[in-house]
């Protein structure tokens, strides 16, 4: 089914156009308020479009729909294909919502707000393109292109003290992108331009199969904070003092997971089996490391990072169960998961800033602030996998499948999930411990507007638990 009105191109282009608007938006008081408003408006407009796209597709089908074609380069011959399915649309929507949450979190920032909005919209455009790309070249283009705005956001607004970490982070991701480029060009050389669906059914020549798959695996793994590269990635994530930037940074591993799913071959081969085994092993090691370190680390940002990483790796391991039900559920779960950590991050940042203002620690910060306390508690409980969001169902499915494959590995994974859950609960406990030195007062509670926004988020999460595609109306 082809897309009417080039809708997919439109949802990629709209944030880009928004970015141009932001660039030209007047900012007399130098507060960046105009830029923020334009950004929020753009994101909301795009969410509306995405919702419309949801109603155009058949949500019962798992195949790609709404194809768009574009002839791009004649030599080498490269044609761009765009398409979506329920899974990719869910991720696009989740990222949009997460960024919207992030924007709410930075609305009081005035420093370099305009550049932040510019690069946020650019990132949004690129990542949307990534999720709708259906051929190997456009996939690669967007895979790499999103690094630029990410790097700029980290450097300009991230607030990271050790700048060399940002370069390492960028270079590491860039390296992964280059490896993918080499693999893409190799595939192109031997088989010409192809869609991702064709690639899934392709039997690659024996002499290059190991290298091509190896390159693909390495490049996608570079997006995920996998051991032994997790150290500086974790240093960056835990060092970020801007919630929007943290959210965007935390969305990056999703691109790796998504890429693995899209490139999953329908016909298993020896290299794929070998590499996927290694991925699972490294994934489990990473989960152990991160969960243990998150447990002992006192930094709340690190705790959230460890939670995010462990969940992502669980999804990654779930991908290689090669079960269609699980793959679909990863989409449903990721939708909730992304919203949860985005909301948790902005609340965490709110607490941190308030306490910074008072010059005291965050122990017992939630004692007197009921609205904030409620929202934070809900999100923490949903995050640890309790039946308040779709994360719960998905974790159940993935873990069941993994337990079926290997009981010990499954129990180990449950152990790590338990550990990160305890880590988050530790933080909640710490924030709720009554403490005389806590200076946050009732007046420091989140505003009613923000609370209403949080309630809306919680509503979305809860509804996603009840019915994953509750917002899709029959066209």
């Amino acid at each position: 089914m082809t897309s009417p009105f080039a809708l997919l191109s439109l949802i990629i282009a709209l944030p880009f156009l928004g970015m141009l608007f932001v660039l030209t938006a007047k900012d007399e008081e130098n507060t960046g308020k105009n830029a923020l408003n334009v950004c929020i408006f753009t994101v909301l407009a795009n969410i509306t479009l995405i919702w419309r796209v949801f109603m155009l597709i058949d949500d019962k089908k798992t195949t790609l729909q709404l194809f768009e074609y574009l002839k791009w380069l004649p030599r080498p011959q490269i044609d761009i294909t765009l398409a979506v399915d329920v899974f990719s649309l869910l991720l696009i929507l989740a990222v949009h919502l997460a960024i919207l949450i992030g924007l709410v979190g930075v609305k009081n920032n005035t420093v370099k707000q305009k550049s932040q909005m510019v690069f946020t919209l650019l990132f949004l455009s690129m990542i949307t393109g990534f999720f709708v790309a259906e051929d190997i070249f456009s996939f690669y283009i967007f895979f790499e292109a999103m690094l630029l705005p990410l790097f700029m956001l980290l450097g300009i607004s991230g607030g990271i003290k050790r700048q060399e970490l940002i370069y390492r982070f960028f270079l590491y991701n860039f390296f992964g992108a280059l490896i993918l480029f080499a693999a893409t060009m190799t595939l192109y050389h031997y088989y010409g331009t192809m869609t991702l669906q064709q690639l899934q059914n392709l039997k690659i020549k024996d002499e290059i199969e190991f290298y091509v798959w190896g390159a693909i695996f390495i490049s996608f793994l570079s997006r995920i904070p996998i051991w032994p590269f997790h150290y500086w990635i974790s240093s960056i994530n835990s060092g970020i003092r801007n919630p929007l930037v943290f959210i965007i940074c935390s969305v990056m591993p999703l691109t790796g997971i998504y890429a693995f799913i899209r490139f999953l071959p329908s016909v298993s081969s020896l290299p794929v089996e070998l590499y996927s085994t290694w991925v699972s092993i490294i994934g489990i090691i990473t989960m152990l490391f991160i969960s243990l370190i998150g447990f002992i680390n006192k930094d709340s940002q690190y705790k959230i990072f460890s939670y995010i990483t462990v969940c992502y790796i669980l999804y990654l391991i779930g991908v290689y169960t090669l079960d269609e039900l699980i793959l679909l559920n990863i989409g449903y779960s990721a939708f909730s998961f992304i919203i949860i950590f985005a909301a948790l991050e902005i609340l965490s940042d709110y607490i941190y800033r308030k306490e910074d203002q008072y010059g005291s620690g965050t122990l017992g910060a939630l004692c007197k602030v009921k609205r904030l306390s409620f929202a934070y508690s809900y999100l923490t409980i949903a995050a640890v996998g309790m039946p308040l969001s779709a994360v719960f169902i998905n974790n159940f499915l993935i873990l069941s499948k993994l337990l079926e494959t290997n009981l010990r590995m499954g129990m180990l994974l449950i152990g790590t999930l338990f550990m990160v859950g305890i880590t988050l609960l530790q933080e909640l406990h710490r924030l709720k411990t009554e403490n005389s030195s806590c200076r946050m007062k009732k007046e420091d509670d989140i505003s009613l507007a923000l609370f209403a926004f949080m309630l809306a988020i919680m509503f979305i999460l809860f509804m996603s638990f009840i019915r994953p595609l509750w917002f899709v109306l029959d066209a």
Binding site: P228, L292, I296, I381, I393, F396, E404, I422, K432, R467
Partner: protein
């Protein structure tokens, strides 16, 4: 209440009607629906629970123990709703959702923020155990219906592991030994909250889970060791706690602990199936809590037994109610009618009465330890309420009294004498011993056996592998080498004749080598 009335109206006792209310997850092999049905057992359970809920609310209303009345009431009723949901579970998801719902309500039922979040740890742990057990089962059966559990247990996959997980869930939720701190933390809450959580909250959930998941724990031979051991330990731990601990709320909680062990023992001996007698134990437990609440409420919220004593003089009506209630308790308990070799019921009764005798002695007959101002403020329950309660108990006694053997009355008399004599007076010095009163041995155990090793492991991994090996050695090494290379190149690219000539020669050498190579 509306939902309950709907069920009472719709479903006569003997009929079993199932209604799929909301179709939920539509996937092949993973269809889950929200089911509601009714049965005689559910009717009995709901009757008892509603009665208890009414009592708790009435207790709160009459005696003004709770400041935030409406939120508390809503929690009480939601407990009933989740109990229905949990009871009606036909599949894993509804079971887990219902169980979690009850955990969450217990969480919100606790007003103290610190205790609340601590309870979350326990709740999370138990839910994860349940989750893991059901995940393993689903992985083998590929079916989420509870009816398939029988078939699973016959196949015997991972029976020991699953049994342990299920028992951890059940006993953790209930707050039995090893998890009793979850229960005892509530000594900081008012009695209304204690009664709500202890009799309408997680214990109901854990009992339902115990029955629903019976095929899973029964399949393993380990259960035959673990269950009696756990329950026995809980019973005796509860007894010693009720006897020794100074805090009256803690004593009430220890008595609840003993009750739970009895409940589970009954169910266990019934092969994990529903035993109607269990439903009647909860009101009895609640009655004991109420009896211990009376001196607290009417003695200006004094919670330490060591600060009480000789209250019988000043609270005659209360005392009379208490001892009458104890008689009723014995009579009602006798209705349980132990079958066969259920001697543990007698053991339980004996231990509870022993503890109760000591407690009542300390409160009403012992040496007067409270200050003059406390004595001055001691009051009795208002006459109307007292009268209603006495009449209610009297009515119950009259109903059951005929079937009660005289031995019970005789034993009651003996107990009454013992409660006045105070044969456990020698235990009073233990009130001053901090090591017994305040030390939490289990917390230390958890810390040194579980938390500390994990923290140490985390630190080692972070410092040695992450920081020293990866960051400093590998990455640092690469970084240093790059810097060295850059510096080296900078040196050989200075604007000096030597450097320029060197470059020239290198280039020409390459060309010459190329020529030599190709010409050969």
């Amino acid at each position: 209440m509306g939902l309950l009335c709907f069920y009472i109206w719709n479903n006569p006792l003997s009929k079993q009607i199932s209604q799929d209310l909301i179709p939920w997850l539509p996937y092949e092999g993973f269809k889950a629906n929200l089911n509601l049905s009714s049965s005689a057992e559910l009717w009995s359970l709901m009757f008892i629970l509603t009665g208890m809920a009414t009592f708790v609310l009435g207790f709160n209303f009459m005696l003004h123990t709770e400041k935030r009345y409406s939120p508390f009431s809503s929690i009480v009723f939601m407990n009933l709703a989740f109990a229905i949901l949990l009871y009606n579970s036909q599949d894993f998801l509804q079971l887990m959702a219902g169980s979690f719902g009850m955990t969450l309500l217990s969480f919100y039922g606790i007003e103290n923020a610190q205790i609340r979040t601590k309870s979350l740890y326990y709740g999370f742990f138990t839910e994860m155990c349940l989750f893991s057990a059901l995940a393993i089962v689903f992985s083998r059966l590929d079916n989420i219906n509870l009816s398939s559990l029988q078939g699973f247990s016959q196949k015997g996959y991972h029976r020991d592991l699953i049994a342990i997980l299920v028992l951890l869930t059940v006993f953790g939720k209930a707050g039995l030994i090893l998890f009793q701190n979850k229960l005892l933390d509530m000594k900081k809450l008012p009695f209304s909250r204690i009664m709500n959580i202890c009799f309408l909250g997680n214990i109901i959930g854990s009992v339902i889970l115990f029955v629903k998941l019976q095929p899973l724990w029964q399949a393993s031979k380990l259960s035959e060791i673990i269950i009696p051991a756990m329950l026995g330990l809980s019973l005796f731990w509860g007894f010693f706690g009720a006897l020794i601990i100074d805090n009256i709320k803690a004593k009430a909680l220890y008595l609840n602990l003993m009750l739970y062990s009895l409940v589970f023992m009954l169910l266990y001996h019934n092969g994990g199936h529903w035993d109607e007698r269990v439903f009647y134990l909860f009101p009895l437990g609640m009655l004991l809590n109420f009896l211990l609440a009376i001196p607290v409420i009417f003695a200006s919220n004094e919670v330490y037994v060591s600060e009480m004593g000789g209250f019988a003089k000043y609270m005659k009506r209360n005392y009379l109610l208490t001892i009458f209630a104890c008689l009723c308790w014995m009579v009602f308990l006798n209705q349980i009618r132990p079958q066969g070799e259920e001697n543990y019921i007698y053991i339980y009764e004996g231990l509870v009465l022993t503890a109760l005798a000591h407690i009542l002695y300390r409160i009403y007959w012992g040496k007067e330890n409270s200050g003059a101002y406390v004595i001055a403020l001691l009051t009795n329950m208002s006459t109307p309420i007292w009268a209603i309660l006495m009449l209610g108990l009297g009515f119950g006694l009259w109903q059951c009294g005929a079937e009660t053997p005289l031995l019970i009355y005789g034993l009651y008399g003996l107990w009454l004498v013992l409660s006045c004599l105070g044969i456990f007076r020698f235990l009073e010095p233990l009130d001053e011993m901090e090591i017994i009163q305040d030390t939490d041995f289990f917390k230390g155990l958890y810390h040194y056996v579980i938390v500390a090793p994990i923290s140490l492991l985390g630190r080692i991994l972070w410092l040695s592998i992450d920081f020293l090996i990866i960051e400093r050695s590998v990455i640092g090494g690469i970084s240093e080498m790059t810097t060295l290379a850059i510096r080296g190149l900078q040196r050989i690219q200075n604007t000096t004749w030597l450097n320029y000539l060197f470059m020239l020669l290198v280039g020409l050498a390459i060309i010459l080598l190329g020529i030599g190579n190709c010409h050969d």
